[in-house]
Symmetry: C2
Subunit: 691 residues, 2 copies
């Protein structure tokens, strides 16, 4: 597992083996698993997938082989060992390469039958790598460019934790992050953003392989991608190495990695020129091998061409034997590290406690008591400012809280005052300066969150600019990364910057997304509640929509209420039968409360409900939901300074939704609210028409 260069590994036999994972189970063909652990009757037909992306696995097999067989430090029997090297296949469509390597290396998650069940219902080998399905996969990739940005996040986490915890006599945090990215990743803007940051931060332990095969789905990259990637990366502050013969140049690959490790102040890009589908006599170096199965005939021809006489899915004995050392070696590596940790614990007790909590994701009991609470007498404030109070309170009790803004720290109010800036020469600090790079910011935070359970990354921009980072946010939701998205300037209430900066459809758009919490707190207590929810939800991300403008602290608001997603803040009815229910979120809860007061003066019984997080409310018991929104009460008015889309289900066929179903405008906030009819008067009028 250490970088020993076995003489065997340059022999033609091993070349074939290294290629095997590629040609093999990518579709319907060769074998790599030593033994079947289930009876033959349960075996799936190897031809079952008949789809997939054989090209990259065949071209990148040598890099994959050198990494998993020689370079990387990992323990196959504990894929979550803290100090493992991380590997990210940014070109996620080539996942069969990684599945094959995990299988050869001895991971329990990828058995022979899993390989045979490639891309099938319920398998551990889905069409793109999914960390939540397959232990040994670090992050979820497939959408191009995300993986390299995740890798930057993983490498940032390592650099940060190493700076915080390593001691001169005990480097307890010490691993590399490797990534493979293809031409597609290189074209994506997110990759350039992330790599610019990696260069800026000097992430010396990030080593990325660029699979330069000159082919993308539409054909030769000449048709759309003729830039000099090397020159660009030099501009980004990376060390760049070119391996010209990636198909068989094992020694060149080894030498490049050695050189990369020697450059400690810069990340390294190793451009590896390969032939896509290498080994396939008729389809190599063509786009047809990128995303389609080779077909039985070409598989046979490939096997002949590579001199591979074995049955499908068969791994020859010498190969099994060669790879079998990774199980004991991996166990030894972890044991060695565990012993190191025991020493560390003895000498650096407090640091060890903190590091342990980061590794395990366990917070100190009572951490939530650090959150501030407010009364109606507390001064009115913008929820973005209240958010900053929460972040700074949490920073004292959550050792893994770190994050920052995409160049809007002073608008998003995200600075942790007790810390400095995370920088190349100050990596122990926790204020991350992402620059104007929203998309990579989200994906980097996914990498941080998935590095170890105790790290809680937050990131910030204007709510409208979630549009720039939505692909990364969706992946937070899918890959179960509990990132906290601090999204300020959450409505037309931002005023003069106008419609380009005013979110309208954004609340709806996140409410429709699976496994993400969309929270829109109305005041101090609700902001604290939103943070409590966000911190507790380590496997689903939270989006906090926060106001630019000041809001009063409302009677009846509470942290506990937020935890239920929706709750009553005021009510003068009895028997769960108000004349009308007013429902609002965030900055409009104040308006609903005002309208409620007025309607009560007119003798109505009025309930005012804060629906701060629809997803959490949906999860409550039917009895609780009925106690907040009784089915018998059809007189309902909702008010929210955003699209009414989705509110129909809440207010019902007879109810009325006050919102904004057009783009915003450039003017002072109060003027826009008035012109758009987001007012207490409008609520009162609507309510009166209903009851």
């Amino acid at each position: 597992m250490a970088a020993a260069t076995s003489s065997l590994s340059t022999s033609p036999t091993l070349s074939s083996l290294a290629l095997q994972p590629a040609t093999a189970p990518s579709t319907n063909t060769p074998a790599i698993s030593p033994s079947s652990r289930r009876p033959p009757s349960h075996r799936l037909s190897p031809s079952r997938a008949n789809s997939g992306h054989p090209g990259l696995p065949m071209g990148c097999a040598p890099v994959g082989h050198v990494l998993y067989d020689e370079v990387m430090r990992y323990n196959p029997k504990n894929p979550y060992w803290f100090n493992r090297d991380r590997f990210v296949l940014s070109a996620g469509h080539g996942c069969m390469l990684q599945y094959a390597l995990l299988h050869l290396a001895g991971y329990d998650s990828v058995q022979e039958e899993d390989l045979k069940a490639f891309r099938q219902w319920g398998s551990k080998t889905p069409g793109h790598p999914e960390n939540f399905e397959t232990p040994g996969i670090e992050v979820t990739t497939g959408p191009l460019g995300q993986g390299i940005a995740n890798a930057v996040g993983l490498a940032l986490a390592e650099k940060h934790l190493a700076a915080r915890f390593n001691k001169p006599d005990n480097e307890i945090v010490d691993h590399y992050t490797y990534a493979i990215l293809g031409d597609g990743c290189q074209m994506e803007g997110i990759a350039n953003e992330a790599c610019s940051l990696a260069g800026h931060w000097g992430l010396g332990k990030l080593i990325a392989f660029y699979d330069d095969n000159h082919i993308s789905i539409d054909g030769d990259t000449e048709i759309a991608f003729t830039e000099s990637v090397e020159t660009r990366f030099e501009g980004l502050g990376w060390h760049v190495i070119w391996v010209k013969n990636g198909n068989t140049g094992y020694d060149d690959i080894r030498a490049a990695i050695k050189e990369a490790k020697a450059v400690k102040d810069k990340p390294t890009l190793i451009k590896v020129t390969t032939t896509i589908g290498y080994g396939s006599p008729n389809k190599a170096n063509s786009y047809s091998v990128h995303g389609s199965a080779l077909g039985a005939k070409e598989v046979d021809a490939t096997r002949k061409n590579l001199g591979w006489p074995y049955e499908p899915f068969h791994v020859p004995e010498d190969v099994k034997k060669h790879w079998s050392r990774h199980v004991p070696d991996g166990a030894a590596l972890e044991a060695e590290w565990n012993a190191k940790f025991v020493e560390y614990e003895k000498k650096y007790k407090d640091a060890a406690v903190e590091l342990k909590s980061l590794i395990n994701g366990e917070f100190a009991a009572g951490w939530e008591k650090a959150l501030p609470t407010y009364t109606p007498d507390s001064p009115a404030d913008a929820t973005r400012n209240l958010s900053q109070q929460c972040l700074n309170a949490l920073a004292k009790v959550i050792p893994g809280l770190l994050g920052g803004s995409a160049d809007l720290a002073s608008s998003n109010m995200t600075i942790l005052k007790m810390f400095g800036d995370f920088q190349k020469d100050a990596p122990e600090e926790r204020n991350v300066r992402f620059g104007v790079r929203e998309h990579s910011m989200g994906a980097i935070c996914n990498g941080i969150a998935l590095h170890c359970p105790g790290l809680i990354p937050y990131c910030a921009t204007f709510f409208v600019f979630t549009d720039y980072m939505r692909a990364a946010m969706r992946l937070s939701a899918l890959c179960e990364a509990g990132v906290i998205y601090v999204m300020t300037h959450d409505s037309i209430g931002l005023g003069e910057d106008g419609p380009t900066h005013q979110p309208i459809e954004h609340l709806s758009s996140f409410r429709a997304m699976p496994n993400i919490l969309m929270l829109r707190p109305a005041d101090g207590n609700e902001t604290a509640g939103a943070y409590k929810v966000a911190v507790l939800n380590r496997k689903r991300p939270s989006v906090l929509a926060l106001s630019r403008q000041k809001l009063p602290n409302l009677p009846g608001s509470s942290i506990a209420g937020v935890e239920k997603g929706g709750y009553v803040i005021s009510d003068n009815s009895v028997g769960n039968k108000p004349d009308v229910i007013l429902i609002a979120t965030g900055s409009e809860l104040e308006i609903a409360a005002k309208a409620g007061d007025e309607l009560r003066k007119d003798g109505k019984t009025v309930r005012v409900v804060s629906l701060v997080c629809w997803e959490l409310f949906d999860e409550q018991s039917d009895a609780y939901k009925e106690s907040v929104l009784p089915a018998a009460v059809s007189a309902r008015v909702s008010i929210e300074a955003g699209s009414t889309f989705g509110w129909g289900k809440i207010v019902g066929s007879k109810g009325k939704s006050i919102g904004i179903d057009r783009f915003g405008a450039s003017a002072p906030a109060g003027k826009i609210y008035k012109e758009f009819g987001i007012t207490a008067e409008a609520v009162i009028e609507a309510a009166k028409a209903l009851c």
Copy 2:
């Protein structure tokens, strides 16, 4: 207006004037308009805005001055003159610079009172430049990086039209595209994507100024942006020039533009090092001048420092006189071009007719007859394939149709077979190869659409990857660019690629967005209908969600139905009172139709409704809507292979929505449909429970 270098323009006086637009109306200060055209009582207080971004206008005034006063060819009295040079302020927050320049140059859209109404309700001078509000503004910017990508689109359009229409003796299409971008734009991934394409395409008439002021909102760019922009742009294939003294180096700016024009096969980046807020003695070169008003005291100090003794909003006589030539000069330029066009028309009649239709956006009568129609006997096909038939049919009758895919042409089925690839040396062709660059693809298409009314750009990727380009799509909607988004693989129906590739919440998320049409056709006729709608809607973009899998042509489907957004495809009830209404879109309409057939066999009266475009349906008369979805019928079942979010309003409190409120899975499509319960059986069961 031509590049004459007036000796006046290097004098201290003109330096001050050039800076004037900047210091001036950015907030609450100096003057630039010669005469008030409204009575004093209507004048707005110059201190009214008290917000804005003075930094860029003050630092970039010299570049703006040289462009608008010396270099650019335009006609202030006809901002839509076809052959004008285009200018894009990618750093849109600096819009006061452009408003001031438009005002000085004599555009009617920006009068003195408009400057005074900066960032106020209903003004022509919103907080960021909006083409739909202010003639003279080409595109809508503010969200960073979009503008430079729009500029690439404008330059592409020019290169394409020049190649198609120019003759050796008559270069009828011949203009430059200029852009100013700041550090923020440079950090955004979209800018790198767009500039990589600009380099690839060799857009020699694109000249971009990089306002290198080393300050962004969070402070010195050293904290997050230390890459070498020059090196990166060299890698991207651009010609790079550095003007070291952008504050006062007028001659250097002129020389750089001259050099840029001489390089015909590459776009040029002119890095102009400036001082943000130049002229402000206490706030220049600090982040505080980026996004906040200077304040009255600092304004006074700045005026003194620049030797500017005039009243707020006052433009001295010599300045007025200097700029006054642009009105007659602009009229002369257009007249000269008109004469050239008369010559062109005489000699190249057919080409002139086609060019005219591109300039005016008028299509040949009966163009829609080119769209294919289908019967239930037509073979089942994927709507992505049917889409290709429509695109190829339209290409014959719509001379401005051009576009392509983000490296998925063979999956999205977007190739126009009668044309080749648009490339550096084949710019007359119409298949655009965007590479894997979704975000810039959208923004480039916005630029193409806004170049002239007859150009209809389309672009394509998998529907799920709209997440990568959502910011550009929102701008299509806001800036009224009728881009056609061809989004295939629109559900779990794509199968094995798994949840990273399967859209769930995307239909809902676009239905919530203002001014965009979300169309999900079910078969051939509906696909043709979707294209008819998309082509006719030149001021709002259309998103077509198309299937990977084959779908039958359904009895009752029609182009006319699609134009109404929702319509009945089958019904065995009388008196507008079916027992149950089944509502579906796209690939699930087949399932609803099947369920309807089964239910009818059981004696039920069943209406099946295709709700192909909710936005269009919403726009129909109440009577029509009642004829499709009668209020009295509460037994409604919807089925769509996506989030049920938003369907509550359609099916009502008593109805049932069948959909997918979780992420997808990697498996063959049929298996996922079955496992997720997106089946006729589920519809039948739900319907039976309701009627």
